[in-house]
Symmetry: C3
């Protein structure tokens, strides 16, 4: 990102931007991780293999201590100006597994921003003390701007976008793909599967990202089940249409469940309501997964959810072997550890170590 001005960079289409975000070493791994679109099938498969590897090494105490030595000379900053215990803890745990020491700002009120400091200055501050910034922000595009700023400073360090506004949440998409890969490992992989999304498809950034990443696989059918007001946005549909993906937009969850290999439930994201209480007026009773839906689900299908959930999935499903959302959450920790290790150039070291 150093040979291009911000305005020229910002005007590029997403696909063209991605080359600027890759590691300069040319191994295809991301340096800054900002968009789900940075991950093509090869990178997805390499990251999933690396996550499996780290997971395996970590099983013994010896292996766990080895992992803790790999990046013990690095320090990461977790800058979460939007509250999120899950994403925060998952990234924290990923760092800890690799021996990275961390600092954090989890609340704008404890930070210097009240003294009138700009985001740019805050980020340069963090870059002074740390070797990576993992950031979550309610502001669309902030992580991207910060990545450009840092790349053009005299202390460039990688930025990992842990969620920016309604926009992008690339590591969530990664963990979703990793969960699908693991679930269908002995069942032909992701190719040819039917994935149903249900709930708030308009504002859930995870849906947007995962839908896109699934186009990296062959013959994946996508079904979108939502109340009309919360249906999947036109731009997502257009990408699918353009790529020749088989997809369906519907409001019949039960019918969709019967033919699904994965049902991806999501929460109504009412924190983004333009008018307070707007979401509460939507009749979403038919967009919940309960005992009836469970009965319709194929025996080798899975239920996913990015969590936190409210009542989209009845707790009676929680201990069903097809309920994958708890493992999905833990997968997030492993795939993030893989991404962070790869960002620092340790993919090969870990794939080839003696553990």
């Amino acid at each position: 990102m150093t040979d291009i001005t911000w305005n020229d960079y910002a005007a590029l289409p997403l696909e063209a931007k991605c080359q600027y975000l890759a590691r300069p070493e040319g191994d295809g791994m991301p340096y800054h991780t900002l968009f789900a679109q940075q991950f093509d099938r090869e990178i997805l498969e390499r990251l999933c293999a690396l996550a499996n590897r780290i997971r395996f090494i970590n099983k013994s105490k010896e292996g766990a201590l080895y992992l803790k030595s790999v990046l013990a000379h690095k320090r990461a900053m977790l800058y979460f100006s939007q509250p999120s215990s899950r994403t925060f803890l998952s990234h924290l745990a990923a760092c800890q597994i690799l021996g990275i020491t961390t600092g954090s700002v989890r609340d704008a009120a404890t930070s210097s921003e009240f003294k009138g400091e700009s985001h740019e200055d805050s980020i340069r501050t963090f870059s002074s003390y740390f070797d990576m910034i993992i950031m979550r922000s309610p502001e669309k595009g902030l992580a991207e701007k910060m990545a450009w700023e840092l790349s053009n400073s005299d202390r460039p360090i990688p930025i990992l976008n842990a969620g920016s506004g309604k926009d992008q949440h690339p590591t969530q998409a990664l963990l979703d793909i990793y969960t699908l890969m693991r679930s269908f490992e002995k069942n032909g992989g992701i190719d040819g599967k039917t994935v149903t999304f249900c709930g708030d498809l308009m504002r859930g950034r995870t849906v947007r990202s995962l839908s896109y990443l699934l186009t990296n696989f062959r013959n994946v059918r996508q079904v979108f089940v939502a109340p009309q007001e919360l249906q999947v946005p036109a731009d997502v549909v257009m990408v699918l249409a353009k790529k020749g993906v088989d997809f369906e937009v519907t409001d019949d969850l039960k019918a969709a469940v019967k033919t699904s290999d994965a049902v991806y439930m999501t929460r109504i994201q009412d924190e983004w309501d333009s008018a307070k209480g707007a979401s509460a007026k939507i009749d979403n009773g038919r967009f919940k997964f309960g005992a009836e839906e469970l009965a319709l689900l194929k025996s080798d299908a899975i239920i996913m959810h990015p969590l936190p959930r409210r009542d989209e999935i009845a707790t009676c499903c929680d201990n069903d072997p097809r309920a994958m959302y708890w493992r999905q959450m833990r997968n997030g920790m492993w795939i993030r550890a893989a991404l962070i290790a790869a960002t620092f150039g340790f993919e090969k070291t870990l794939m080839n170590c003696g553990y």
Copy 2:
């Protein structure tokens, strides 16, 4: 806890519950630590010996580094939805001494709970990323419910109750016993001593727990000094009567001090007032420990306090050698380290290591 439903478990008497909380390895140490009642005399003595051991090992840099390697492959979550710097930092330090890496949620506002997530889901989240949960909550029985939930999930990890409501605070009771043991080490131990409790005996959970644990020792006399409105509850008294313990309920602190081996002062817990300011109307002038009480105290007796204090103990007592409350606090760190090490099955390793 896996061979019993929640309702069946919850209906058990406390004593019967305790067997479900022990380590499955059968060494008598707790797996989940929820109640002071889990500690019988043998376990108390083993934990105190282990705390002494850890303390000794930690004296040299070499030993401190060895300790930091013992549980370096483990990560613990400190989930404190009720504020408490002391208990938080003490558990944190205990983890750090053993090399455990930690994450924390110390404020419900930074957590996912505002998005409407249930406690159960939050706990399962934490269990995905960590190997132990140390939790403090204003909600009675929550830690217990969570322990049962986790034991019945596919990722059981131990829960350590760092205070639940007005109810239980088992590690506080542990550190109190440890302080008494150390103080009376060369003076015949705890057996036969007189322990006086003074202050808010109704709502102070530490009094309840310590009073119970003292029944594990022989001929310990217990004296309860409080204003009538804050006297020790009937159920505590009934336990003592049933066990044939010699006890006294009084409002005369000076008289009690003269015959005490330990005076345990407590703070008026006005945060639990049902009507705001109710406690302020109670005349508690006679329930404070100052210069006059100090003059009456035996030369080999001790003053304890769970802290934080307000004015129950005058600061003029602070540097008296009988003032044990600062050391009591530090004892908390060591006994918690012992408990955590034992929870993970490292009692023998530490007792027998070459340091």
Copy 3:
């Protein structure tokens, strides 16, 4: 500080106090770091040399891992009751570089103070669990009182003042001197240079401290540029006059810039306004550094700022090689690591180690 009562100590002039704050080992390094006045030229030069050394060792992974072993047996408490992400993170990173494990309280609301605990008791609590306290407080003189208290307790541990009220911020002064030393390393050092301070000179504690420390060097000219209401206080001027320092008080930034070797810009500290909005009425348009001032600046001069900034320095200056404020911030991390290592007696170990 153990052979003197608090009242006798408090009545001493600052210079006489400093001897009480030095390490008892007599190597001249501070035990408690409370005042910029503790640093004479020799100590400043030794600390800067140590910072350079640590920085060098840290360049290799091997060296970084060695540094992390140096104080791996120590734990530090960061007690920040006044918000500050920069100072917090900088001290945190300094600890992490040396392998010190940390705990923190960054918000009075999560602490025990709401239960009515005194500062003294809080500090004794922290001292029970940690080996050093790094504290920032809005209360003038608090760190000093706490240092005395701890020195007279049975668990004395060092206190590092990370900013107390409008008063003292000694490590900021240290990092400013370190930045000047590095900047003028090949240009004759600090002796004989002209340093211009601009902005809120009345309330900026960094100005007060740096101005004082510069009197340790020969023939340093000091220029103070500010609106009348925010000019440098009389006591600072009196110290300079008494020491025969060449100084000037003016409101003409442009003229000052032309002859300066360092221009030290500061923010209007309106959080200290006695009447809300008072600062906003001051015309400070002439006290900002922008393109015009940059054009007047000598080619080998530097621009400094303690950060955070608002608009005192235009962002168009940020990538000018003379803009030293980003490196100044990073220097803070290194010099703090040096100070902490020296506090624990590791100066020689690090200066002489094989890296």
